[in-house]
């Protein structure tokens, strides 16, 4: 297998900062996103010297962002209260998922947004969620089932 070189952090950051910021905005809302963005890339920076190769860095960035967003929301949210929907002025296609997915359990929400908003495949979603591919598929499909039940 060819080793894929790890790019200098500046390149990794420039390649992914905008999409990770957009993802965090969708996933967690603006207030959380601003802090979560910094925390995501600080965590990436801390872990960066331990990377063994430069493959799947995009999915790796999503995985860290997902965890940070979930942690941040848990930290900020009183138990059992559902999140406010993030208000956003620029609404790309995937933003339409916001009002639908806002109160799904965090993992299901992330899986649905990554699959249908960002078009990631299940291997990458699994990597982003730190789970198996099968678990990622299940999270997305149970999220979709939950949404469907709600709409009928």
């Amino acid at each position: 297998m060819n080793a894929v070189a790890i790019p200098p952090f500046e390149r990794f950051y420039e390649d992914h900062r905008d999409e990770i910021y957009a993802y965090l905005r969708k996933l967690a809302g603006r207030d959380v996103a601003d802090d979560a963005f910094q925390e995501t890339f600080l965590r990436a920076l801390r872990a960066y010297p331990r990377l063994e190769h430069g493959r799947h860095l995009r999915a790796w960035a999503y995985r860290i962002a997902t965890r940070v967003a979930i942690d941040e929301r848990r930290r900020r949210m009183p138990a059992a209260r559902l999140p406010e929907l993030p208000a956003d002025d620029s609404r790309p296609a995937y933003a339409e998922l916001d009002h639908l997915t806002g109160d799904l359990p965090a993992t299901e929400r992330a899986a649905v947004v990554l699959r249908y908003g960002y078009d990631l495949n299940y291997a990458d979603i699994a990597s982003a969620l730190g789970s198996s591919e099968e678990a990622a598929r299940q999270a997305a499909s149970s999220g979709v089932r939950r949404l469907r039940r709600r709409m009928t």
Partner: protein
């Protein structure tokens, strides 16, 4: 959607203040053209003329570690001292330089070179003699040619035995400019 500048700047600042970087760098203007200035925690490790940032970032990562990030604060002091130097208000740099990534011979040449005072010139042969290798004038030239921190480590003050400028990695025009800024006498 792009990251708001404020958030981007805050991240770059924090990465440096939490000591998470192998190298911080920034770009700056100078009378001899744009410069890329880079520092490790130990000190200034690179000044590049006419930089191609992408290429420089790759090089810095190879030499010092992959955590290279553009982050202005750690190189603020270097920028300030360079500004003062170009305005003729500074003769010696107080900045520490980090030469640790260099081969021992080159490091010894550059350390000795730092003793050549502002406004004076010396020769390759004399520098070679001073590091105890009187026959290594040519190798000294090679070491100077790859000096990662020109200006601050003053390779522009080294000339040929007949007083001709000989060469400069940043171009002879820059060497001439730096020497005339310092008011050095060219024999």
């Amino acid at each position: 959607m792009t990251v708001p500048e404020k958030i981007d700047v805050a991240f770059r600042d924090r990465a440096a203040s939490e000591s998470l970087l192998d190298v911080a760098y920034d770009l700056t203007d100078s009378p001899i053209g744009p410069l890329l200035v880079a520092a490790t925690e130990r000190g200034l490790c690179e000044i590049a003329f006419d930089p191609d940032p992408e290429e420089e970032v790759e090089r810095l990562a190879r030499l010092h570690g992959v955590r290279v990030l553009r982050s202005p604060r750690p190189v603020d002091e270097a920028r300030r001292e360079l500004d003062e130097y170009f305005e003729g208000r500074r003769q010696d740099f107080d900045l520490p330089v980090d030469l640790e990534a260099l081969p021992a011979f080159q490091r010894s040449v550059l350390v000795e070179l730092q003793r050549v005072p502002y406004g004076q010139v010396d020769t390759y042969g004399s520098l070679a003699a001073r590091i105890g290798k009187p026959k290594a004038a040519r190798a000294v030239g090679g070491a100077l040619n790859r000096n990662p921190v020109p200006i601050v480590v003053p390779c522009h003050r080294i000339v040929g035995s007949t007083g001709n400028l000989t060469g400069y990695a940043g171009g002879l025009e820059r060497k001439q400019l730096l020497l005339s800024l310092e008011g050095g006498v060219l024999v």
